[in-house]
């Protein structure tokens, strides 16, 4: 690797490269930046991404409430519209009303989030989604070159990948990990920088920092045959450790197979993690987390809270951490009326409990959680559900959030079944008016990333006006 002549020159080059959408040599770049940024972090901060896997139905999550828009909503969703009367208790009253007079209510199942919104700890982001360039209208979309649009719009895997990586499938780093790259060196042990109780995560994978996976119920799982004698034999215990963790070389008489060496590295990290974290995890201090099942969000967020509580433990010493939790089954083509409420309830109850727990730990201003999903869904119903869309609605929660407000503009809904709205590319699939890059950059800025570095971490950010890159939903 060659070092750039100066950091300034290098950044200029990286920005130019990302403007043309050729992947910049991020590894080189971020490794160089990370060291300097890490030194400046003196307080603790954490980001917690809550992934609603499958494409959450945004129109039954944040429901149009003003008479004009509710009528359109009800017309497009004859069998799956939430009754207006059911929405009244969760009508949102933002500090600043929307200029167009649009009103929205949370889905009834999201009622546990209402006090957070009203208390100023929750912001609502309207019509946010994957973008490479701003696409101002359906007409602009129709004539946009393929390189100006996220590839394979409306496809789960592709859009889920783009949401996390800001690049197509095949990109192997996500923006949570790229942000973390810059701070990992400031943590006592970089292994505990990006942590997931939901398996491997592209979002948490940086250039140097990778996902550390834990169990939502068990935390860091010890490997019995390595931490204790194997069927009574400590010799076998020792050989088990050697065989499963050794990085072999071609010269030690065995094969240096890359699959084997990769596997052995995972086992090594597993052992280290269980040794350090496994001994440090305290119980949660509040009982607000509901009863847990195998993978639901409350189990995962409860475990994240315990890891945060252990942030200062010996061998951890974390200053910056990024977490990802996730729950599936949001792909409600069918039966959205019965399927989605329990899922949303899990989101709301868990996020509210998590915020309560952060309060108990005294880090409510240091921890920000936020939702993401594959994509939004069609306003238009397919009978008892909806199909894959684009722009969606998301939430940010925490003491550092400029809450009790909407950010961005809702899309103009189609005036009739036969007429599409200006941002509607078919069946109420709305072109986002805020990009994931802007969403992430706003969070990254709060986390301590400089404006210049954000342009490297978010390759499409440069395509948006400088004044709009920070969406303003985080306190400075």
């Amino acid at each position: 690797m060659t070092k750039p002549a100066s950091r300034r020159e290098f950044l200029k080059m990286a920005a130019a490269l990302s403007a043309t959408r050729f992947a910049p040599p991020l590894a080189l770049n971020l490794a160089a930046l990370g060291e300097s940024a890490a030194a400046t972090a003196t307080d603790y901060k954490a980001l917690v991404c809550v992934f609603m896997i499958g494409g959450n139905d945004n129109f039954n999550t944040l429901v149009p409430y003003d008479a004009a828009n509710y009528a359109i909503y009800a017309q497009q969703r004859p069998a799956i519209a939430t009754a207006m009367s059911a929405l009244t208790p969760t009508l949102l009253t933002p500090a600043t009303a929307l200029a167009g007079g649009e009103q929205f209510a949370l889905a009834p199942a999201l009622a546990p989030l209402l006090p957070l919104f009203n208390g100023g700890q929750m912001a609502v982001l309207l019509n946010i989604g994957t973008l490479i360039d701003p696409i101002p209208s359906a007409a602009a979309y129709a004539s946009a070159p393929a390189t100006s649009l996220p590839p394979q719009l409306f496809s789960h895997l592709d859009q889920r990948s783009f949401y996390q990586a800001e690049g197509p499938i095949g990109n192997t780093s996500g923006w949570g990990g790229r942000i973390a790259d810059m701070f990992a060196a400031g943590n006592g042990n970089s292994l505990f920088t990006c942590i997931s109780p939901n398996g491997e995560s592209l979002f948490l994978t940086g250039l140097n920092t990778g996902t550390y996976s834990i169990s939502p119920t068990g935390g860091a799982i010890p490997i019995q045959s390595i931490v204790s004698p194997l069927f009574g034999s400590s010799s076998c215990q020792g050989v088990m450790k050697s065989l499963t963790t050794a990085q072999r070389t071609a010269t030690d008489g065995s094969l240096a197979n890359l699959f084997e060496s990769t596997y052995a590295k995972v086992v090594s990290r597993s052992l280290l993690g269980a040794q350090v974290l496994g001994a440090s995890l305290p119980a949660t201090t509040v009982t607000a987390f509901p009863a847990t099942t195998k993978t639901n969000l409350s189990a995962q967020l409860s475990m994240v809270a315990r890891v945060i509580a252990a942030r200062n433990a010996s061998g951890i010493g974390a200053m910056r951490q990024v977490f990802l939790v996730g729950a599936g089954n949001f792909d409600t083509h069918n039966a959205v009326v019965t399927t989605q409420p329990p899922l949303l309830s899990d989101v709301a109850v868990s996020m509210a409990a998590f915020h309560t727990e952060m309060n108990a730990l005294g880090v409510q201003n240091n921890v920000t959680s936020f939702t993401v999903s594959d994509f939004g869904r069609t306003l238009n119903s397919d009978g008892d559900g909806s199909d894959h869309g684009w722009g969606s609605v998301h939430f940010a929660v925490g003491g550092a959030v400029n809450g009790a407000n909407f950010y961005g503009m809702p899309p103009v809904l189609p005036p009739s079944l036969a007429t599409a709205g200006p941002l509607d590319v078919g069946r109420g699939r709305f072109i986002p008016t805020m990009a994931v890059d802007q969403f992430g950059a706003t969070l990254g800025s709060w986390f301590g990333v400089s404006d210049t570095d954000l342009l490297t971490i978010f390759p499409n950010l440069v395509n948006f006006n400088a004044g709009t890159r920070n969406l303003g939903f985080m306190k400075a």
């Binding site: 992947a23 719009l153 192997t172 491997e200 990778g210 169990s215 076998c236 197979n257």
Partner: protein, 672 residues
């Protein structure tokens, strides 16, 4: 393609717009000759006759120019022979086959052929031969084809070779299985023939639906556990092991999750779905797609059951779910592929692959999947309508014209005719052969088949129009599957699927639950918890994208940096490796539900000659097909020899420790 489906697909255009967006796709009215050209490119239906017709239709004589170089050359090793096959070159009258013993040549002619196959019997077993061929006609000879290689075998495989074949074609096997393969007169070829001949549901093995009924448990018709038990029963105890191995691969591809199916009789629905996969596993891929598309399990899981045509009054539209996923996951994928499985790149941007279809195709395909209902006349037993093909209900079916992938399905056809036409379009698409072939190779043999391997199997997919027996044979008998290269190349291999490791243990050590014992089979249950079990379990995938993806390369690893895909690493992390190692240790010592493995065949080796060498050597063959190095075996032996085997408990401890060490070492976990 039969006459009726020809009539249904009455218009064919060139490749659709590839801009990956929902813009209107310009549709040119087709000329008949375009149909022929398209079909030639797709190389599916009636290849040679259409191709020749297209040449003739141009007005010139087919022999006015020398033919093009033959494509799709495959070389299959047999005992003392190598069989070559290739795709016809347009206008060719004969082919000349040449051979060398190095890939660079020199090549010497060994024969000529007028058909598209040739058997070379003047070979020495154990020598690797490289073949090329050229096509010729009155105007001259073509350029040479790509090279294909094969190593003819001496009759009879070694134990290690046989164990390796069984790791690819089965779930490994016990010593008796290895011996049975060694006894085959013609190695894997005759083993495959024998396996193909075993009927579906061989004696003693009920179908999944019949097993649920036989157990007379009303609850199993609608719970998730009964059908899960039934599938474990088949995977572990059914003698048609090749079909079971292919079945597992099919459930990886055509994913359903029983618990996510919102049907009252979801157990029955999934049992029927599995029976349909089994019945068609050795049939035709087109029939697999048709069968899957008729099952209530898939209909409900991907939500086209009860989807109806657009309603202009209420404004509802057809459900797009299955329409998208049958293309994205079950047949052609999202980017255009070459025959060798590599992506076609946008000429205007090297970072963008060409899209296979656009949103308009999804919208049109969604019309195909309207009007499908449970068959209310199927009432032979409780839940029977979930265990019967869906039927098309004319009132809900969209009868308008559908434009799918540049081809038109005419208006006015029945729902069944329309589905058949839509699947015929998918079968004709040039992507389906490489897209499906590569994934089957990844499931059975290796994570990174060479482009040559993919194209050889894909060519068989094309030339046989999706015949599963031919595809399976092509995968398992390819020279690459048996090559020494895979054993020593540091970039080769595949991480064994956790479920396959478990089934291997159960089959090798004869977990002997009676096939009819529903209580026993229920003790296996859902093994998908990553931190305590396998992180993977059949019928438990979190969504239709399965537990891991075919293109996954773990980031920040040497695999990723070398461009190597390793799908199973998608579920390999700090938590799941601990979960697996703890699970397998407990399994080895305690079995399932209190029933231990049957270790009788290896018990006498525990202290043979006063040490554990013989035990380790045998386990290395049975479990790891000989792939654990001498260095590792020596390390294991010196540790195991410290365990006193003078008591029964001590002998067991040595056996359990040896097997645990072997099943946890990366040299076993990576199949080569």
């Amino acid at each position: 393609m039969n006459a009726s489906s020809n009539a249904m697909i009455d218009s064919i255009t060139s490749t659709p717009s590839t801009e990956g967006r929902d813009a209107a796709t310009p549709v040119a009215e087709p000329a008949k000759s375009q149909m022929a050209v398209y079909s030639y490119n797709a190389a599916i239906a009636a290849l040679s006759s259409l191709a020749l017709a297209a040449c003739g239709g141009g007005g010139g004589s087919p022999s006015a120019a020398a033919p093009s170089a033959p494509g799709g050359l495959s070389a299959t090793a047999g005992v003392a022979q190598v069989t070559l096959a290739w795709m016809a070159s347009m206008g060719a009258t004969s082919y000349t086959i040449s051979r060398a013993t190095t890939s660079a040549g020199p090549f010497t002619a060994v024969g000529t052929a007028t058909s598209t196959s040739f058997t070379d019997r003047s070979v020495t077993n154990g020598t690797e031969y490289y073949y090329i061929l050229s096509a010729s006609n009155a105007a001259g000879a073509s350029a040479n084809s790509a090279v294909a290689a094969a190593t003819p075998m001496a009759a009879g495989l070694s134990r290690v070779q046989a164990a390796r074949v069984l790791a690819q074609a089965a779930f490994g096997g016990a010593a008796t299985d290895i011996q049975a393969l060694q006894n085959q007169p013609n190695g894997i070829q005759s083993w495959l023939t024998q396996q193909f001949a075993i009927p579906v549901n061989p004696p003693g093995q009920l179908s999944n639906v019949a097993w649920l009924q036989a157990n007379n448990l009303i609850s199993v018709m609608f719970d998730t556990a009964g059908v899960q038990s039934s599938l474990w029963r088949k995977l572990i105890s059914s003698p048609d092991v090749l079909r079971q191995r292919v079945m597992l691969a099919l459930t990886d591809l055509f994913v359903v999750n029983t618990g996510a199916i919102q049907l009252t009789y979801r157990g029955a629905a999934v049992a029927y779905y599995l029976d349909q996969l089994e019945a068609n596993a050795f049939g035709n891929f087109k029939d697999l797609l048709l069968a899957v598309s008729h099952t209530p399990a898939m209909g409900q899981y991907l939500t086209f059951l009860d989807s109806v045509k657009a309603n202009p009054v209420t404004g509802t539209s057809p459900d797009e779910n299955y329409a998208r996923e049958i293309m994205q996951l079950f047949s052609i994928g999202v980017v255009q592929l070459n025959l060798d499985g590599t992506a076609k790149i946008n000429p205007n941007d090297p970072n963008v692959a060409l899209a296979t279809y656009v949103q308009t195709d999804v919208l049109n395909m969604a019309k195909v999947f309207t009007g499908w209902k449970l068959d209310a006349t199927a009432n032979a037993f409780l839940g029977a309508s979930a265990a019967a093909d869906m039927v098309n209900n004319t009132s809900g079916f969209d009868t308008t014209e559908k434009l799918v992938l540049g081809q038109t399905i005419a208006a006015g056809l029945s729902g069944e005719q329309t589905l058949e036409a839509a699947i015929a379009i998918l079968m004709q698409h040039s992507n389906i052969a490489p897209f499906i072939s590569r994934q089957f190779i990844q499931r059975l043999v290796t994570s990174n088949p060479t482009p040559g391997y993919v194209s050889r199997v894909a060519a068989v997919f094309q030339s046989t129009q999706g015949d599963m027996k031919s595809i399976i044979t092509a995968i398992l008998t390819d020279s690459e599957a048996a090559s020494g290269q895979l054993l020593t190349d540091p970039q080769a291999g595949k991480l064994r699927e956790p479920v396959v490791r478990f089934i291997q243990w159960a089959r090798t050590f004869q977990l002997n639950f009676a096939p009819s014992d529903a209580t026993a089979w229920a003790k296996i249950g859902d093994l998908s918890n990553p931190s305590t079990k396998l992180g993977e379990s059949p019928l438990q995938s979190p969504n239709v994208f399965f537990f891991f993806q075919p293109g996954y390369a773990p980031p920040q690893t040497a695999l990723h940096d070398n461009g190597i895909t390793a799908p199973e690493f998608g579920i390999t992390n700090e938590s799941s490796v601990a979960g697996y190692m703890n699970f397998i240790k407990n399994l080895i010592a305690n079995g399932i539900g209190g029933v231990p493995g049957n270790y009788g065949a290896v018990q006498p080796l525990v202290n043979q000659g006063g040490n554990s060498a013989a035990l380790l050597a045998e386990l290395n063959v049975l479990i790891a097909a000989g792939q654990i190095s001498g260095t590792s075996l020596n390390m294991m032996q010196s540790a195991l020899d410290t365990i006193d085997t003078s008591t029964a408990a001590g002998a067991n401890n040595r056996l359990y420790a040896a097997l645990t060490l072997i099943m946890c070492t990366p040299e076993y976990l990576v199949q080569k």
